[in-house]
Amino acid sequence: MNAAQLTAPAPDPLLYLDGVSVVFDGFKALNALSLIIDPGELRAIIGPNGAGKTTMMDVITGKTRPTEGVVRFRDHDLTKLDEASIANLGIGRKFQKPTMFDKLTVFENLELALKAPRGPLACLRWVLGGGDRARIEQTLEEVGLASRAHDLAGVLSHGQRQWLEIGMLLMQDPELLLVDEPVAGMTDQETEHTAALLVRIAGRRSVVVVEHDLEFVRALGSKVTVLCEGSMLSEGSIDHVQNDPRVIEVYLGR
């Protein structure tokens, strides 16, 4: 039953979910889900619509409180913390629908995401230092938005918005990145670029990617977790899960 005991001697897990259930009005969005992410691990999560992928991210980032279960990040009980505290612990999230601040410029969006003191007075006194400016410019290059730095985020195309949000995630410098459908609306080339970027990040950070695009998942070359109806259906390499009859049944119809 206890997943932690099965994978026991490995390094202390970074993220630890055990028996997490979320019930909305009698509907079980998550059903006794258990999941362990190790430091530095890259993990892909796939599953049909309504499998509970986004709900799982909501639970980890404090948007939704689990009805029952354990959610730990290092030594912190995430079920007791609000979104901002969880973010400050070092968990960054990219949303399925790219969300940013349309009335601020691309540069300002990144500046807000930049890891720095977050209190009102600190923000009031904040002066953008040379090092920080360099980091922002570096990230702008990385996500290919250098030429649009002073345009309002609201005028960007969908693909550019995806990139900007990934850039914001990088600026936060989190220990754990939760990335929800990062390549929707991207060209093949961009998709490749994104996969390479995530693989590069993963050595130092843990990255959890939710994605539908199986080619992309294959490009990540990571362990894959398949969710279905709120619980884990299968786990292993991409080849392993693609050959798992239960996964085939879920994806190809019953």
Partner: protein
């Protein structure tokens, strides 16, 4: 929803012009008390009425700035800012009442007339200290600030936003209005405070006092403008805009939204309180009517008319709507409420960026 004053978005030709107009307007305003001292037969003479009215409008402009800071930037549409303004006014009113001393109708050395009339034996404890000017000014900031802190904390912590927050703040000012109408509150009930005699040793209603109050208001306005512009130009200003447009996203970036909103809400309430404190000695009266929900919402419409989310817009709105009000209530008093109601409708439907939107380019 126009580009902010602070944003590095390309500033159009219109914005520069506006800034020059603002500087010109401040200079002309600053001259008014001087022109008031000119001989009455001079062509440049300005009447007492004009000076007093402009002084009053300046305090309104500060209130508009305060509302704009909360609404235009942080998206907090408070329908209770009139309450902060009135509380500041009451703090100053209490000071002015204490300064009347034995010159009241009943000639009591300490108690204001209404307390003698209501049979008070001694000054209620919460009136103590108000004979000192610095204490009164401190209270004019602290009381609205504290109220904003408590109400804001309760509301923001529970993530009450949008119209719900508006309704709660409206209920707040309504409750205060009911409370201040009561005689046993010790704030003069229905009639409030009036018949003030002096302030800081100057008899009121003299040209001297008028110009001192006028310049104090102007200084407050410039100070408030500087402060608001510092806030909106800083990263805090950008966090506020971010909260206004996508509150929950800001949380996921690790910002404690409650703290930021609370900061700006309290700051805004303190500014409103100071504006009220300077308003009262210029108009010579404060009563519970100032708490009326309609007053607060009228102040919100100044900001909407001028253009929210721009500090210049708030000023423009406060002056233009009040100019219209002063003119229309003398020419055709029955029409004023139609005009005001019409403004609400016209601005929300046809001029979402306010008057300032006519001069500046819309962000694409």
């Amino acid at each position: 929803m126009s580009a902010t004053l602070a944003s590095p978005a390309p500033s159009g030709f219109g914005r520069m012009t506006l800034r020059l107009v603002l500087i010109g307007a401040v200079l002309i305003l600053a001259l008014l008390p001087v022109l008031n001292q000119m001989p009455t037969d001079s062509a440049l003479h300005v009447s007492d009425f004009v000076v007093t009215v402009c002084g009053k409008w300046i305090t309104y402009a500060v209130l508009a700035l305060a509302i704009d800071l909360a609404w235009g930037y942080a998206g907090i549409l408070s329908l209770g800012h009139g309450a902060f303004f009135a509380l500041g006014g009451y703090a100053m009113g209490m000071h002015l009442m204490r300064l009347i001393g034995p010159r009241g109708v009943y000639g009591h050395p300490v108690l204001p007339d209404f307390m003698v009339f209501l049979g008070y034996q001694e000054l209620p404890w919460y009136w103590l200290g108000f004979d000192h000017f610095p204490f009164a000014i401190l209270m004019a900031m602290a009381v609205p600030g504290l109220l904003a802190l408590v109400v804001g904390y309760l509301a923001f912590r529970s993530r009450i936003t949008g119209v719900y927050l508006s309704i709660i703040t409206q209920a707040m000012t309504y409750a205060l209005m009911l409370a201040f109408f009561r005689n046993d509150m010790g704030f003069g009930g229905n009639n409030g405070f009036t018949d003030f005699k002096e302030l800081l040793g100057m008899p009121l209603n003299t040209p001297n006092a008028r110009s001192v109050l006028f310049y104090a208001s102007l200084a407050l306005l410039l100070g408030a403008l500087w402060l608001c512009s510092a806030v909106t130009r800083s990263k805090l200003g950008r966090v506020l805009v971010a909260i206004r447009d996508a509150e929950s996203r800001v949380r996921f970036l690790g910002y404690d939204v409650t703290q930021h909103k609370l900061f700006v809400f309290v700051l805004s309430a303190v500014l409103a309180g100071l504006a009220g404190a300077l308003y009262v000695p210029q108009v010579g009266i404060i009563n519970p009517g100032e708490f009326s929900p309609a007053n607060s919402i009228e102040a919100v419409i100044w900001v909407a008319v001028g253009g929210r989310g721009t500090l210049l817009g708030a000023l423009l709105g406060a002056f233009s709507v009040n100019a219209l009000k002063t003119w229309l209530t003398t020419v055709a008093p029955d029409l004023w409420l139609f005009a005001l109601g019409g403004l609400f409708v016209a601005v929300t439907l046809f001029l979402p960026r306010g008057l300032i939107g006519l001069f500046t380019k819309a962000p694409k």
